[in-house]
């Protein structure tokens, strides 16, 4: 039950080292040409999917609010960034756009959350689905977003550094939120909303906070997407995109950030590999999903995090050491 005194614990420093090594590893592999542009696209997809899925997991997995409208928030960030990059095609424009986009997604999340989060379960799913469709139709009909044709030729400001930095920041923020008293409050809503309220947790407020927080990072992921892939149109952010994210979350384990990251990586890789076999792609993809759900209905990780696993081993080591000495 030890709580450290500062953030600079041995474990956190190790994590920092791991994060930095991954960054430099990819950076050097790229500069030596071992990883080509084709690989970088996959990596970008992985980063964006991790951001989307981890933020959705905060809403669905940790707080237990079934949302089918995450693509809506993503599109807000994507359009904001794209428009900002049109008027200012450089990194500053990118940062301004992604900030505005994420904050806008957060605001929309709060506005939509207040009426819809009274609903429970399937009803909430339908309501969030409807809201994402409204956002899509708005983009489809606005002049500034160029309707169904979408925005093309966006300046590519996002590179490996930005992709990685923002992904790590999103995961870190959500991890810190979940592993705090506020995160516990959210999890208690998932476990038993009535009991949670009776213990003094303002459940409405926390549902909205989780929803808005998730929307914020979905907006940021959308910003990365539009800036990396040049081109966005309303159709990219339809119902199926939300389902894609939900699949990653469910597959990784509702309530496990580690699981979400692993499944985001696996599914992104799978999609890339299967691209060469386009005729059977969806069949193989679906069969794999069915098989995993049959044999691991709780998802790859359930609610377990990698830190729990490390804890377990650390404790075991200590016990072993004690018995020897």
């Amino acid at each position: 039950m030890d709580v450290p005194r500062t953030v600079f614990t041995k474990r956190n420093l190790v994590w920092l080292a791991v994060c930095l090594s991954i960054y430099f590893l990819v950076f050097f592999l790229r500069s030596y040409g071992i990883l080509g542009n084709y690989h970088e696209i996959t990596i970008a997809q992985i980063c964006i999917n991790i951001m989307l899925a981890v933020s959705l997991n905060l809403i669905v997995g940790f707080t237990g609010q079934f949302s089918l409208g995450h693509a809506g928030f993503m599109s807000i960030g994507a359009y904001a960034t794209s428009l900002a990059l049109r008027s200012r095609p450089d990194t500053i424009g990118f940062l301004i756009g992604i900030t505005i986009g994420s904050v806008l997604a957060l605001v929309v999340g709060v506005i939509i959350g207040i009426p819809t989060l009274r609903l429970r379960g399937d009803y909430l799913g339908i309501a969030t689905l409807g809201m994402a469709e409204i956002i899509r139709v708005v983009f489809l009909n606005l002049k500034i977003t160029n309707g169904a044709a979408g925005l093309m030729g966006t300046f590519r400001a996002a590179n490996w550094t930005w992709l990685y930095l923002l992904t790590v920041m999103a995961v870190l923020a959500i991890n810190n939120f979940v592993n705090s008293s506020h995160g516990r409050a959210c999890i208690s809503i998932r476990e038993d909303e009535t009991a949670s309220e009776a213990m003094g947790v303002n459940t409405t407020a926390y549902k909205i906070i989780a929803f808005a927080f998730g929307a914020f990072f979905a907006g940021a992921a959308g910003g990365l997407y539009s800036s990396y892939f040049y081109f966005i149109k309303p159709d990219l952010f339809g119902f199926l995109k939300s389902i894609d994210m939900l699949v990653i979350v469910v597959l990784g384990g509702l309530g496990s950030i580690t699981g979400t990251i692993i499944s985001a990586i696996l599914l992104s890789l799978l999609t890339t590999i299967l691209q060469d076999f386009s005729s059977v792609r969806m069949i193989v993809y679906s069969v794999i999903l069915v098989i995993i759900m049959l044999f691991r209905p709780q998802g790859l990780m359930g609610t377990v995090e990698i830190s729990h696993v490390i804890d377990k081993f650390a404790r075991k080591d200590k016990e072993d050491a004690n018995t020897v000495s």
Binding site: M1, V3, P4, R5, T6, V7, A173, N176, F177, S180, S181, H182, G183, R184, A185, I187, S188, E191, D192, T194, A195, S196, E197, A198, M199, G200, V201, N202, T203, T204, I209, T303
Partner: protein, 268 residues
């Protein structure tokens, strides 16, 4: 001034009057029982007191430490934060959370640091987290649960789950605690342990307790005063000895015939 006064409280669901015109008062640090046959409306009263239901009519006044609040129509979390805690008839723990996390939830609204300091892991965050854990372990030690803080709540034996629910209610620092059938499903020795603990809650923590219970020996032994509810109405109130011999109470529990039998010594 009584800590809780309920005036003319009614609640109907459609045409069904689950609770009608109930008047109750609880003095500070009193241990009061609320009994009645199944379906009499006892748990509905708890749900009205804690804000789960809004009363159809009537007022509920809660007056902890000199302040006075009219709590009917307030949200459950507001009422909880004013100082009314409860346990549930069918245990409602956060099953997939650890024992200590269950307790930490109740301390959340008083002790937690801000969202910003949790995100940036400031020293304030670590301090409040350490404080909360320390306090939670102290509460858990009341029921000797401090040995297994990291066990998932669903993996505790039944009796300990009941205990954990009480600890969780206690951790929100209430002045009034509502216990909904705490002895349900417990064996003799567990029940006697429980009754000792309920006394401790009152004496050590200075709590006012309202107790719903079907175990009559426990109620008669513990409670200073008893309210009896039948079909949503108060049919009797008084000291345990008065209740035991009250004709209306016996009728409500056993039926009119049985009541007459008892009166006549079972001759008819």
């Amino acid at each position: 001034m009584p800590i809780l006064s309920v005036e003319n409280l009614s609640k109907s669901f459609g045409g069904l009057a689950a609770v009608s015109h109930v008047n109750m008062t609880l003095e500070s640090q009193e241990l009061v029982g609320l009994i009645g046959p199944n379906g009499a409306g006892k748990t509905t009263i708890f749900n009205l007191l804690t804000g789960v239901y809004t009363p159809t009519s009537g007022t509920i006044t809660f007056a902890p430490n000199g302040e006075v609040y009219e709590i009917q129509g307030m949200r459950p979390h507001q009422i909880a934060n004013l100082g009314i805690a409860r346990t549930f008839q069918n245990i409602r723990l956060f099953k997939d959370m650890t024992v200590i996390d269950n307790v930490l939830i109740s301390m959340h609204s008083q002790l937690s640091s801000s969202i910003a300091s949790s995100l940036f892991r400031t020293s304030k965050f670590y301090n409040s987290e350490r404080e909360m854990r320390k306090e939670a372990l102290e509460y858990l030690s009341i029921f000797n649960l401090d040995k297994k803080p990291k066990v998932l709540a669903k993996n505790l034996p039944y009796g300990e789950q009941r205990h954990l629910e009480i600890v969780r209610a206690l951790a929100s620092k209430p002045s009034l605690i509502l216990l909904d059938e705490p002895a349900a499903g417990m064996n003799q020795s567990e029940t006697s342990h429980l009754s000792a603990t309920i006394r401790r809650l009152k004496n050590e923590f200075g709590l006012t307790i309202l107790l719903i219970e079907h175990d009559m020996s426990l109620v008669m032994e513990l409670c200073e005063r008893i309210y009896v509810l039948d079909y949503g109405m108060l049919i009797s109130q008084g000291l345990p000895n008065e209740i035991k011999t009250d004709k209306r109470v016996i009728e409500a529990y056993l039926g009119e015939d049985a009541a007459r039998d008892i009166e006549t010594g079972g001759e008819s």
